[in-house]
Symmetry: D3
Subunit: 237 residues, 6 copies
Amino acid sequence: MRILVVNPNTTASMTEKACIAARLVASEGTEIVAVTSPSGPVSIEGYYDEAMAVPGMLQAIQSQQDFDAVVIACFDDTGLDAARCLTDKPVIGIGEAAYRVASMLSNKFSVVTTLARSVPALEHNLHRYGMERQCIRVRSSEIPVLELEDEGSGAVEKIAQEIEQAITEDRAEAIVLGCAGMVDLADKLSEQFSIPVLDGVTCAVSLCESLVRLKARTTRQGGYAPPPAEKIRSCLV
Amino acid sequence: MRILVVNPNTTASMTEKACIAARLVASEGTEIVAVTSPSGPVSIEGYYDEAMAVPGMLQAIQSQQDFDAVVIACFDDTGLDAARCLTDKPVIGIGEAAYRVASMLSNKFSVVTTLARSVPALEHNLHRYGMERQCIRVRSSEIPVLELEDEGSGAVEKIAQEIEQAITEDRAEAIVLGCAGMVDLADKLSEQFSIPVLDGVTCAVSLCESLVRLKARTTRQGGYAPPPAEKIRSCLV
Amino acid sequence: MRILVVNPNTTASMTEKACIAARLVASEGTEIVAVTSPSGPVSIEGYYDEAMAVPGMLQAIQSQQDFDAVVIACFDDTGLDAARCLTDKPVIGIGEAAYRVASMLSNKFSVVTTLARSVPALEHNLHRYGMERQCIRVRSSEIPVLELEDEGSGAVEKIAQEIEQAITEDRAEAIVLGCAGMVDLADKLSEQFSIPVLDGVTCAVSLCESLVRLKARTTRQGGYAPPPAEKIRSCLV
Amino acid sequence: MRILVVNPNTTASMTEKACIAARLVASEGTEIVAVTSPSGPVSIEGYYDEAMAVPGMLQAIQSQQDFDAVVIACFDDTGLDAARCLTDKPVIGIGEAAYRVASMLSNKFSVVTTLARSVPALEHNLHRYGMERQCIRVRSSEIPVLELEDEGSGAVEKIAQEIEQAITEDRAEAIVLGCAGMVDLADKLSEQFSIPVLDGVTCAVSLCESLVRLKARTTRQGGYAPPPAEKIRSCLV
Amino acid sequence: MRILVVNPNTTASMTEKACIAARLVASEGTEIVAVTSPSGPVSIEGYYDEAMAVPGMLQAIQSQQDFDAVVIACFDDTGLDAARCLTDKPVIGIGEAAYRVASMLSNKFSVVTTLARSVPALEHNLHRYGMERQCIRVRSSEIPVLELEDEGSGAVEKIAQEIEQAITEDRAEAIVLGCAGMVDLADKLSEQFSIPVLDGVTCAVSLCESLVRLKARTTRQGGYAPPPAEKIRSCLV
Amino acid sequence: MRILVVNPNTTASMTEKACIAARLVASEGTEIVAVTSPSGPVSIEGYYDEAMAVPGMLQAIQSQQDFDAVVIACFDDTGLDAARCLTDKPVIGIGEAAYRVASMLSNKFSVVTTLARSVPALEHNLHRYGMERQCIRVRSSEIPVLELEDEGSGAVEKIAQEIEQAITEDRAEAIVLGCAGMVDLADKLSEQFSIPVLDGVTCAVSLCESLVRLKARTTRQGGYAPPPAEKIRSCLV
């Protein structure tokens, strides 16, 4: 099976990082195709970036012919609903994926994300997915997304500190890392704190494999009904 | 004061209709500047259209120099959060405006919108605004947005029928018309059914006037913090 | 237009303060008529005061012949529902008004009110208006209402301290001042903390102007149906 | 023990009916003292009546010296919060009492009340008590309160019809009768429909006995803190 | 009347403690019959214990012929729904009972229980009963259930400390003690902190007396419909 | 990998049906081990059956040495929380699995289950998983579980009829079949109605594979902390 991992921002190094993580978790026989959005912001931190990233991301999906499922590799699940209108293949956002996995492993979890400006958008998603009771708190480490790439930024320490507080103050039983750029930290932190620490990219790839094996299709009725072809055409001009 | 009315779809006749309605309700001394999005879908019916409409709409706002408040003239409040990041001037969506006015005039209301495919997006908005208990139901009349322009479409009759059911079945005390293209029907229907029937364009213009008089500013902290200038520049390229 | 500002407590100096604030924000052509309740408590701090204030307040409204909208100038929106049964002119409480304005300017806000005993009543209102997710916390400064009139009470400092905590602990993006007696502090505090700090009296006056311009009427169906005339007569005896 | 049953409306025949029902359910050794509000509306149907009834009802409570608990004998729990500020003796509303009993006997129940205009106030109460999921629906039989006294009004038939629909349409497992004036119907209807049909007066008297035996006291902290004596005095003038 | 108090764990000394407390609060003429579950865990701390305790507890109920109501004397209301299917006599859990009493005496309360591992189960119950807004927080004192029996364990001090924090941090107006083994502490702590401190056993006994006097029956429709006799027989083999 | 499929009722033919369905969806290299509970009810229809089934089911799990994940093959997710305390291997209930898959494929779904008496238990689960907004309605077809095995029962027709109503009345975009015994109907009905019709057994097996590939472990902190070994021993005696 072929899973399309779309990075909705334009930073190719983040796409690559996500791709490596995706391949590590993918089953034998699953091919990971990673694409970078051709246009939009270099990172997604808040509502404006999110909105500007969607058309490029949708274009990246439409440019691909042959895939069995789509992973949207940004933690705020950029354009998830719009993407589901474009294809009946399963589409999963990495935020959604991590939340759903966390909710099958724990009673309550906290999220550790990058900047405070991203928190309200994540809280709205959590509410939409019905996770407002299982997710106790969205914490921000105040590390910009692109600094996660930089070894000297002290990012890991700051994230670890927030996890520690989530365990003692929020009584979190699991942690969700709130940025695709943290994908390489999950295992280490999980071991360090002896609770599940989840990354969205791997969760989403694995859930996509599940849905494909189930031959599951996104509904074509109601909110995800496909837009008329002429509308799609006119938007792409 | 100058209120910018942005039509996030590209159909100029709808912009004009909204503009006329806006001017009718505006106070003396309020200038209405109506702009049409330069790119994106011809009408907004569901998630895909909504997502594709945002960049054009934001560009339309950014192209204007001088305004005191912004009305987003699409009932699903397209790109409202992103627009609030771009300016500290008040920004109001017409869906939000109509819901807030309805909730000051009644205990419970129902919405009558166009197509079923738009309903889930509206329901998510209602939840986000905390209106999920005051709004009893979102009804769809199954009239496409652009047919509202067409006299022979039987649109008014179908909408009236849904209102009647909202009153008897939902026990609605007020009605919100769920499309900018219905702006000219509110008064007539309100009289016909002897309950408040609200249109979003006029509600939003009037609430904008309020906020401007209050010298109210959108917060610059948290989720609406302005994106760094270089990010805005890079997105616009 | 004529807006009736009713102070539901019997302290005339508070009526005057509200009246001055109302006039400052009112549009040209809007006349503010301020009335003090003829009977009931000198200040409204909690459920008992609230209940005892309503008949006097309703009588104050009924004694007026000619108005286009009513502002109830007590932050717990004393008797709002009952007042809406008495007239189809818009009636807005200052608590409600401030919450609705705050929710159009920010993702999340906190309230700073007077005494702890008032907090549960405000929390019930917030829930009723659907604001329980947007309002993070109702904080009490432990300043009795009437001490707000007294320069030497240290009231401003205590309120400022609560605002500071609301920003750092609650991650509030805006603040609502929870008492009509704080009306003169909003601008100063807003500047000091660089976030919207809202007062209910000005918000309510301005929203009333909006509703009047919209020719909006309180519904006469359901919960706000007018009581039979003989019942009103018998209650007034 | 002495239980004070306060009728917040001024119709003495309803007080007597409630008193008879209360005595039937009271334990040996429990004295029922029934008082009628000295002023206010003859029946309570909606927000206005409710607000106008409270001061008379509070006065009726304050006029009594010696009681162990208070039942507020109106289904919208008129002035319940205010009454709890006046005494640390338990105070229970008949609406609240019936809801709490229903929730110990069934998974879900429906309410059958008098007029549609009363429904929103009841729905707000249900929400406040956390009953919004256990109560499926508040149905109105469109019988005015005082017609319940009138044998020829067809009231019983209309109520029975609503119960039947509640069972089939709402899948209600129990029914709450939503008016003090229906107190004499509960047993008959319960037998007729083979599900619990509950009346608030008897539920409240019985719960009061429980609370008195538990030596339970209404908290004096927070929202129910007693108002200062001088404030109570000034309100009574 | 005869009230059956079932201890769902197998520790007879806890049954006895509950029985003594039950008898102290019971009315004259009420007989308390206390039974210990014949099989299952020695104490109930978390989901596993709870699940393993239910069949023994149901068997203990079925072994009794003659009772008017049942109290399930474990704070997580072990097997409450299942027990309600077995008899139309009222069945009340001590957790449920204490929550319902607390909600009639205060606006908001906190719970102080034993171990952190029990907290999620209690939170689920609170949600199910609609108490998630009235209960601010479930605190754990980290005292194992059986250590409550041990004078030297410092249990009372730890519980008192949590109550103190509940009052200052949670603004709790009342406290619910979250374990049947704390039944003897309620009065002392209530006096010490001048707010209602409630124990479930006494609350449940007293509410049972109410329900019996009301001749209230658990519904036989829907979720509490009795299982077919042959199923009960086959399960007991 | 080895997935343990536990049938919590004692009907071996249902275990076999689930096992066949599980094998059809399992990946190459996944071994399905299906076990039947050694004691308890022959089918699970409501609270009593559910409670009586748990110890047998937990024993069935404990009797197995070597597995990588557990599927609880009853739609009410019998004993899910207790099972998660016994092992850090992922444990998924088939109800939970189907709801989570449905929520990744649609905005809103309805459930079609067997008997009305099971509905409240399912509604409680849905609430606990945060699905109360995404699941519009739980419908019962009034077919007892074991009649699903019987060709002449008209079961398929009754289920199809409920699906049809779910689409037209509930505006469901997907359907979840609410009983393990319906596992063989999903594909056919999905095709017939052109929307996703999901069965829990296949969803759960596939999600288990995901979690195993993710090396995900159930948290050992908080509500799922393992009970002390001596407690487990004592319960098993």
